[in-house]
Symmetry: C2
Amino acid sequence: MTEKTFIYASAPTEYIEVDGIRYAYRKSGDPGATPLVCLQHFTGTLDNWDPIIVDGLAKERQVILIDNTGVGNSEGKTPDNAQDMGKDAIKVIRALGISKCDLLGFSLGGFLAQVMVDLEPQLFRKLIIVGSAPQGAKALHSFPQLVEKAFALPPKEQYLFVFATASEKSRAKIGATLGRLFIRDEDRDKNASMEAIKAQISALTRWGTDPVTINLSKITQPVLIVQGSNDEMMDSSASIDLYKAIPNAVLVFYPDSAHGSFNQYPELFTDQANSFLNKFE
Amino acid sequence: MTEKTFIYASAPTEYIEVDGIRYAYRKSGDPGATPLVCLQHFTGTLDNWDPIIVDGLAKERQVILIDNTGVGNSEGKTPDNAQDMGKDAIKVIRALGISKCDLLGFSLGGFLAQVMVDLEPQLFRKLIIVGSAPQGAKALHSFPQLVEKAFALPPKEQYLFVFATASEKSRAKIGATLGRLFIRDEDRDKNASMEAIKAQISALTRWGTDPVTINLSKITQPVLIVQGSNDEMMDSSASIDLYKAIPNAVLVFYPDSAHGSFNQYPELFTDQANSFLNKFE
């Protein structure tokens, strides 16, 4: 029997239990040889992915969005460090019966991608790391202050503050992304709880201050690194550091863009990601 | 009557006279709204473009390869500076009846692209600049020494020295590029003359030492900048400088690659260039 396939707007939230904890996830696209698992940014849930990107990628593979421990509709206590978050995500991937997948990590999700490929290299074919940074990145030392500044703003301005530059063009494009996040009326995810947010702030800050444990030069997988020209959350230059440290990496920078680089250019990113996943070796 | 279209291997060399000088060029692909004009690297002729790239781009547009003044089968005296070379290329484009085109400049051709968009911004819709540098780039101060080192090598090693890194993978891929350059048996171009080569060395060196005259921040066109991780000819970091100076630029870096970045990843580059030319704004 063929599995029914879905697009972003209609993919039902599904659940799987791992170690007594119920995790929420959604699948889009036809199951193929290698699914793409997507791990979200700080505070982000299943409803924070850009439908243009998910549907564009799901045309050529199965895309699986996961809420990590304690986030959105996933139960459990959110760990306060990226290492334990990465271990949890690996358990969920295993529980889904996946023996090999591609991994897209956005921001905090990009930290987890680094942890996960370091822990279980054989589980991952290719990685896409968007708006992220290597361990020890200095910009993360001031992450709590940036978050405080963002949380003082009304919701739309908060989103624009994090994901757009100050330019009208960037704000308009990221404003459109924000609109697309409400394409689903029903079966929406819960917002991240304050407890999860606090644990994530700890994980993000510790990524910049804890000792460096991952040797990026040992990553043998092809990696696509994507960043905006002016990302204050991560500092754009951290992606150049990632690119230089990972042996087989392609680096892409978009213009006049901040932490929401790939959301600002969803069609271009989708083309680049599909080409990378389908052809790059 | 529909114009006959060609692929790289069979496109006949055509000629057009401008100011009493006969220029050689080749066209592939269906004429569409916006042709892509391609300007070549130091010593390069119509036979030095990668057939995978030209045919891949020509599937979605007309691609026009031009021998600039005094190079290959084009007559005239090669200028000793990029400004005059750029003026010549503009004249050829005008003579071909083109009122708007995209421009791909590789290395020295990328200098010309900067000159040309500065001189006649209304003539160009989008630019692709591969393995190039802004005016004043320091790596060019030692260009004559690098050329001397390259010219002391046998032909295949010369090609690998310039376009590949020292890794086996890079050398194998660029060796394959070199093989593809002989896909045409007949109607081949003349090699660049020693006179043209000397003038080009002057133009390349002067790009690094002459006063900066072009204000890259005034370029309003979308620009795709492509470079390899380890380009000694131009210094890879010069492409980051270009990206930071040009307001609406997308930057792409490939791994373990030198001056032949796009030749080493021809399928990936072709996808990225087509997506950029078709969709990026």
